[in-house]
């Protein structure tokens, strides 16, 4: 059972570079989320999606973009990487109704230098 799969696990970017963090789930979940966790801090919601073709901003969306062309995939795009985007990124999913627990990916540690 794969669950939520995030790639890559680690990445170092130079300022101004772009990259896409991949997130795939095989549980047919409607809801998917991207969070970032800064060192010693809690998780902040970047973007979320309630189903294919539908996305919405979270608390800290600036500098990021998402798309949800399929139920399974929810990639997170960084267009012009900045040092402030150094963080650990977690993708999560849930079936959809309000009371469902979240399944998290293992995280992507991103450093922008």
């Amino acid at each position: 059972n794969a669950g939520v799969t995030q790639t890559p696990k680690f990445r170092i970017l130079k300022i101004g570079q772009s990259m896409t963090l991949q997130c795939t789930q095989d549980m047919n979940h409607n809801y998917m989320y991207w969070y970032r966790q800064d060192p010693g801090m809690g998780l902040k919601l970047i973007y979320y999606s309630v189903g294919a073709g539908i996305t919405d901003k979270g608390e800290v969306p600036n500098g990021y973009n998402v798309s949800r062309s399929t139920t399974e995939d929810f990639p997170l795009r960084l267009e012009l990487a900045a040092p402030s985007q150094t963080s650990v990124y977690f993708c999560a999913s849930s079936y959809g109704v309000i009371n469902e627990k979240l399944f998290f990916g293992s995280g992507t540690q991103l450093s922008v230098l």
Partner: protein, 112 residues
């Protein structure tokens, strides 16, 4: 707006002591869910418990127990007879209509 506050940034206790992690939340939703997650040193996030806003019954699972009080908007987590393996960062979270919002976490260190 939704908000979760975990006022305790760090807690350090000696093994076998009981410890309570506080969580206070704010929401305008009448239906909502509260969660606790554990993040051990390895970094992954582990779901511990989910409670809905209509069920204030306290829950016990082994050494873990949760106290949900709507009157004070609190959802506290107690570990009884703590063990070194309980050392982790613990996150309280609130889910309203769509978004899941996390508190800043409490780093719990259990010393042998």
């Amino acid at each position: 707006a939704q908000k979760v506050t975990q006022a305790q940034t760090e807690i350090s206790v000696v093994e076998k002591e009981d410890v309570t992690l506080d969580c206070v939340y704010e929401t305008r939703d009448t239906t909502y869910y509260l969660f606790w997650h554990k993040q051990p040193p390895s970094g992954e996030l582990v779901f511990l418990i989910r409670r809905n806003s209509f069920d204030e019954q306290n829950e016990i699972s082994g050494r873990y127990s949760w106290n949900f009080q709507k009157s004070t908007s609190s959802f506290n987590f107690t570990i009884t007879a703590s063990q070194v393996v309980d050392s982790a960062v613990y996150f309280c979270a609130l889910k309203g209509a769509q978004k899941l919002v996390f508190g800043q976490g409490t780093r719990l260190t259990i010393n042998p």
